[in-house]
C-alpha cells in the first residue's frame, strides 16, 4: 500500500560549546562538585535557552536497573544478568547494553531519582507528559502543547510534532495527556511516522482513499477531496478535522515541510548511523525538524506499551522476556539511536540551543518477578538530559542499594516539565497566564 503523503527514502541518498564554557567558567567549584549556588543556577538558566526540544518518550517503562542504574552488589533476585561497564563520567556505570552511550556520557546528564505518582501506563503517561494526574480533571496540557502555545507556528511546520505510529496507548486506552489538554485541541501534536527505512508518512491523510501521490500536487483536486471527506463527518468533529487537514495539506504543499521530511537528503552514513529501526529513523527526523525550527518534537518509542503481544510494537513494558528483549532489541536500538542523535546534534552545533531528553513514565521492579522479568515501578526511574545549557557529565539523584527509592531529592515529571518550560522561555509569568505547571520547580542540579 502506498501511504499518501509519504516520502520514499532511497538506499543511497545522496558546537560550538561556548554556552557550556561560559556557564562553567562562571560557576564556582561547588557547582562542579554537584552543589550549585543559587547565583550559578540563575546564571545558567539565564544563558540557557532551548529553541527546540526533542523528547525521546520511552513508552512502557524501561528498566532503570538493567540500563543506566545497575546494582551489581544487590542480591541475585534484584541485580539482573547484565554486567556493568564504565562510562566517561566518574562514578557512573551502565550495564553492558549501552556501550555507545557509555562512551558519550560526558555529553549528557542522568537523573536517577525520578518518581511518578501513578503506576499504570495511561495514568503514569499522563503524569509523565503533563506533570499531573488525569483525575480529577481536566487533563493538563502536554509539555509540548505549552511550548507550542508559547511559540506559535512559524512557517508551514506545526510547532508540536509527534513522531511514531500513533498516539501512545495501552491496549485499550491512550494517554489522555498526549496533547493540548486545557489549552485546547489546537495545541495537539501533529503526528508523522518514519519507517525503519526512513520513509516518512502522515497517518492523518491515510483516511483519504482516493488520493494518490500523483494527485498531491494538484491543489484543486486535493481541496475537493478534503471537502468531500469533511462532509462525511459530524459537525462536532469538523473544527478538529479542519485543523488537522489544513495542517496536513499545508505540510504536503510546503517545500519547507517536504524538505524537512525527506530523509534521503541525509548521507547514507548519517542515516545508517541511527540504525534501521523506526525509533532510530524517527530520531533522525526529529533532528531535521529541530533544525527546521520546530519548537517541540516528541519521538515515541512505540505506539503500544505492550512488548510481546499480537499487534504490539515492542514497547518497554517487559512483563515477560525483560532480559531477552533488552538484550536482543531495546538496548541495542536505544544505544545506537541516542548516541547517533547526540553525535549528530553535537556535530551540527544543535546542542547549544536544543534540549534533548529521554525518559519513560516509570521504571521496573527492582526485584525480578517469578516470570524472570520485571513489573511496573513508579517509585524510582531515570531520565537523561542534554543540551540547551544542561551541564553534561552529571548524575542527579541517587537510588538506594536496590534501586527501589531515591535516597536524594526525588525528581518529578512536573519538575521535568517546568525545566523544559523554563528553558524554552515559558517563564513563571507565562505559565501562570496559561494556568499550567502550577507549583513546578526547575531541576536545579542540571545547571
Amino acid at each position: 500500500m502506498i501511504d499518501f503523503g509519504s516520502f520514499k527514502a532511497r538506499d543511497c541518498g545522496g558546537s560550538t560549546r561556548r554556552s557550556f564554557l561560559r556557564t562553567a567558567s562562571a560557576v564556582p567549584l561547588a557547582l562542579r562538585a554537584g552543589l550549585p549556588t543559587p547565583e550559578a543556577i540563575a546564571d545558567a538558566k539565564h544563558r540557557a535557552r532551548a529553541k527546540s526540544v526533542i523528547l525521546l518518550w520511552l513508552w512502557g517503562g524501561p528498566s532503570h536497573i538493567d540500563l543506566v542504574d545497575p546494582k551489581p552488589d544487590a542480591s541475585m533476585d534484584y541485580r539482573g544478568p547484565f554486567g556493568t561497564i564504565d562510562t566517561r563520567t566518574t562514578g557512573l556505570k551502565f550495564t553492558e547494553l549501552l556501550p555507545r552511550m557509555a562512551e558519550r556520557s560526558d555529553r549528557y546528564s542522568v537523573v536517577r531519582s525520578m518518581v511518578n505518582t501513578n503506576n499504570g501506563h495511561p495514568g503514569a503517561g499522563t503524569v509523565g507528559l503533563t506533570g499531573f494526574e488525569e483525575s480529577p480533571g481536566p487533563v493538563q496540557p502536554n509539555f509540548g502543547a505549552i511550548v507550542s502555545k508559547h511559540r506559535g507556528q512559524n512557517g508551514s511546520l506545526p510547532p508540536f510534532f509527534y513522531i511514531g505510529r500513533g498516539i501512545p496507548r495501552d491496549l485499550p486506552t491512550r494517554i489522555e495527556g498526549y496533547g493540548g489538554g486545557t489549552l485546547g485541541k489546537a495545541f495537539d501534536p501533529f503526528l508523522v511516522s518514519a519507517s525503519d527505512r526512513g520513509e516518512v508518512s502522515i497517518p492523518t491523510l491515510k483516511m483519504m482513499p482516493n488520493m494518490s501521490p500523483g494527485r498531491i500536487s494538484d491543489r484543486r483536486q486535493l481541496l475537493n477531496q478534503l471537502d468531500e471527506d469533511r462532509y462525511r463527518l459530524d459537525a462536532a468533529n469538523v473544527a478538529e478535522w479542519n485543523h488537522k487537514y489544513q495542517s496536513a495539506y499545508g505540510l504536503l504543499t510546503s517545500a519547507e515541510a517536504r524538505a524537512a521530511f525527506d530523509l534521503t537528503q541525509e548521507s547514507a552514513k548519517t542515516r545508517s548511523s541511527y540504525g534501521r529501526s523506526t525509533f532510530g529513523q524517527g530520531c533522525l527526523l526529529a533532528r531535521r525538524l529541530a533544525e527546521a525550527g520546530v519548537p517541540y518534537i516528541q519521538v515515541n518509542w512505540s505506539e503500544y506499551v505492550e512488548t510481546f503481544t499480537p499487534g504490539g510494537d515492542w514497547g518497554w513494558d517487559t512483563h515477560i522476556y525483560n532480559f531477552e528483549l533488552l538484550q536482543d532489541r531495546h538496548g541495542p536500538i536505544f544505544d545506537r539511536a541516542f548516541s547517533a542523535l547526540l553525535d549528530d546534534m553535537t556535530d551540527r552545533g544543535l546542542l547549544d540551543d536544543t534540549l534533548l531528553i529521554a525518559m519513560g513514565e516509570f521504571g521496573r521492579t527492582p526485584r525480578i518477578s517469578n516470570r524472570a522479568a520485571r513489573e511496573h515501578w513508579n517509585q524510582c526511574y531515570f531520565s537523561i538530559w542534554a543540551g540547551a545549557g544542561v551541564q553534561p557529565g552529571r548524575v542527579v539523584g541517587q537510588s538506594d542499594a536496590r534501586g527501589e527509592v531515591p535516597v536524594s531529592r526525588p525528581i518529578t515529571p512536573l519538575m521535568a516539565g517546568t525545566t523544559i518550560a523554563e528553558l524554552t522561555g515559558v517563564g513563571a509569568q507565562q505559565r501562570a497566564e496559561m494556568k499550567v505547571l502550577d507549583g513546578g520547580s526547575v531541576i536545579d542540579e542540571l545547571f
Binding site: 547484565f82 553492558e96 510481546f308 522476556y321 516470570r371
Partner: protein, 351 residues
C-alpha cells in the same frame, strides 16, 4: 610512510568489510610473528641437529599458520546471504544445509519465520497461515520431522509449539499463568525438546517429548538460565546462566549432573551453539566492547574471535559442515545473514 602507517591508512579509508578483512590478516601476521619470536633461544646454540629439527618445526608451524591465515581470510570475508537489511534473528540450518530458517521483522509489530533455499536464496514463509502472532526461535529436529518454536498467543503470553511436519499437526506446551518459553532445541535423537521457562522463580531448563508430554524441570539453578544446546551424542547440554553476576556458559550431563563452567568474564557470554562434530561451541560475547561471535572448544579452551566490527554480530548457528557458521551481522545499520568460514576443528585446536 611506514608500512604500519600505510596499513593504518588503508584501514581508516576502507569499508567496514574491507576493514574486517584487513584486521584479520593483520591478526594472522601477528600470530606468525609471535611464533617466530617465541622460538626458544636455546635452539640456536651448540647442537646443529637440534637447530635443524627446530627449523623443521618452524617450517611445520609456519605451514600451519599459513593454513590458519587462509582460514582467517575466509572468515574475514563472509558471504552475505540476505540483502534486505530487515532485523533478523535465530537462524538455523535444516535439510543438511540446503535450507536456512530464520525470524525477521515482517512489520514493526510482527516477527515471522522464513526459510531460505540456500542455493538460489529464494525465501518463503515457514508457515503460510501464521496469522498475526509472533513466531520466533525455530528449532529443527535432526530427522527433519519436527519444528519447535515460540509463539506469542496473547498479551504477555507465549507457548512452545512442536509442529509435526509429516502430519502437519501441532502440539502445545503451556505453563500456568503469564510467561513465555524460550530457546527450544531438540535432542539429537529428535525425541525430546529442551527449552527455558520461568514458572515460579529463577528461569530454568525444562524438557518435554515431541508429543508435548512428560514435561519436567531439568535444572534447579539460581539466576537466569537460557539457550540450551546438545552435543551430538546427546550426553551433554551446554547453556548459559547468570548466577555469577552476568551470563556465563556452562555444560552439564543431560541428566543435570556434572555441571562445569566454561567461560569467565565480567560481561555476557550467551547463545552457545555446539558444533555438529561436538568439538566446539559458537557463542556471543560483549567482551570486546559490543556483540561479537566467538568459537571455543567444548571445554572452554582456545577462544577464537570470528567477527570484528563496531556493529553488532549475533545469533550464530553452525552450518552442518562444521566449518562454517551463519550469524546476523549489522552492517551500516542493516541486519543481514552472513556465512562465516571458521575452519575445521583440527586447525582450530592446533592453533
Amino acid at each position: 610512510m611506514s608500512s604500519f602507517e600505510h596499513r593504518t591508512s588503508r584501514i581508516e579509508h576502507s569499508t567496514s568489510h574491507e576493514r574486517t578483512s584487513m584486521l584479520n590478516v593483520e591478526r594472522s601476521l601477528f600470530n606468525v610473528s609471535v611464533v617466530f619470536v617465541a622460538r626458544p633461544a636455546a635452539l640456536h646454540a651448540a647442537y646443529d641437529w637440534r637447530r635443524s629439527m627446530c627449523d623443521v618445526t618452524v617450517a611445520i608451524v609456519s605451514l600451519c599458520i599459513s593454513l590458519s591465515v587462509i582460514a582467517d581470510a575466509y572468515a574475514a570475508d563472509p558471504e552475505r546471504l540476505t540483502t534486505d537489511g530487515t532485523f533478523k534473528r535465530d537462524p538455523v540450518f535444516t535439510d543438511s544445509g540446503a535450507t536456512l530458517v530464520y525470524g525477521y521483522d515482517e512489520r514493526p509489530d510482527l516477527v515471522r519465520m522464513l526459510k531460505m533455499n540456500v542455493a538460489d536464496r529464494s525465501v518463503t514463509p515457514v508457515f503460510e497461515d501464521a496469522g498475526n502472532r509472533h513466531n520466533l526461535e525455530p528449532a529443527w529436529s535432526l530427522d527433519g520431522h519436527w519444528v519447535a518454536y515460540t509463539q506469542c498467543t496473547g498479551n504477555l503470553t507465549a507457548r512452545l509449539v512442536i509442529h509435526n511436519r509429516t502430519q502437519n499437526r501441532d502440539a502445545f506446551v503451556s505453563h500456568s499463568g503469564r510467561g513465555g518459553t524460550r530457546s527450544p532445541t531438540f535432542s539429537p535423537d529428535s525425541k525430546t525438546v529442551v527449552y527455558a521457562f520461568a514458572e515460579t522463580g529463577p528461569q530454568q531448563l525444562w524438557s518435554v517429548d515431541v508429543a508435548a508430554q512428560n514435561k519436567k524441570q531439568l535444572t534447579e539453578c539460581s539466576g537466569i538460565t537460557n539457550w540450551p544446546t546438545f552435543t551430538p551424542d546427546g550426553k551433554t547440554i551446554v547453556f548459559a546462566n547468570s548466577r555469577e553476576n552476568n551470563y556465563e556458559i556452562y555444560s552439564m550431563s543431560a541428566d543435570g549432573s556434572n555441571e562445569r563452567r566454561l567461560t569467565d568474564n565480567a560481561i555476557m557470554d550467551i547463545r552457545p551453539r555446539v558444533s555438529p562434530d561436538g568439538n566446539r561451541i559458537a557463542f556471543v560475547s560483549t567482551r570486546d566492547g559490543n556483540y561479537e561471535v566467538y568459537v571455543m572448544n567444548l571445554d572452554g579452551s582456545r577462544v577464537q574471535r570470528i567477527t570484528n566490527s563496531e556493529e553488532r554480530d549475533d545469533y550464530p548457528t553452525w552450518h552442518p559442515n562444521g566449518t562454517q557458521l551463519v550469524a546476523v551481522s549489522e552492517r551500516d545499520g542493516d541486519f543481514d545473514l552472513y556465512l562465516y568460514d571458521v575452519g575445521p576443528t583440527q586447525l582450530a585446536s592446533g592453533m
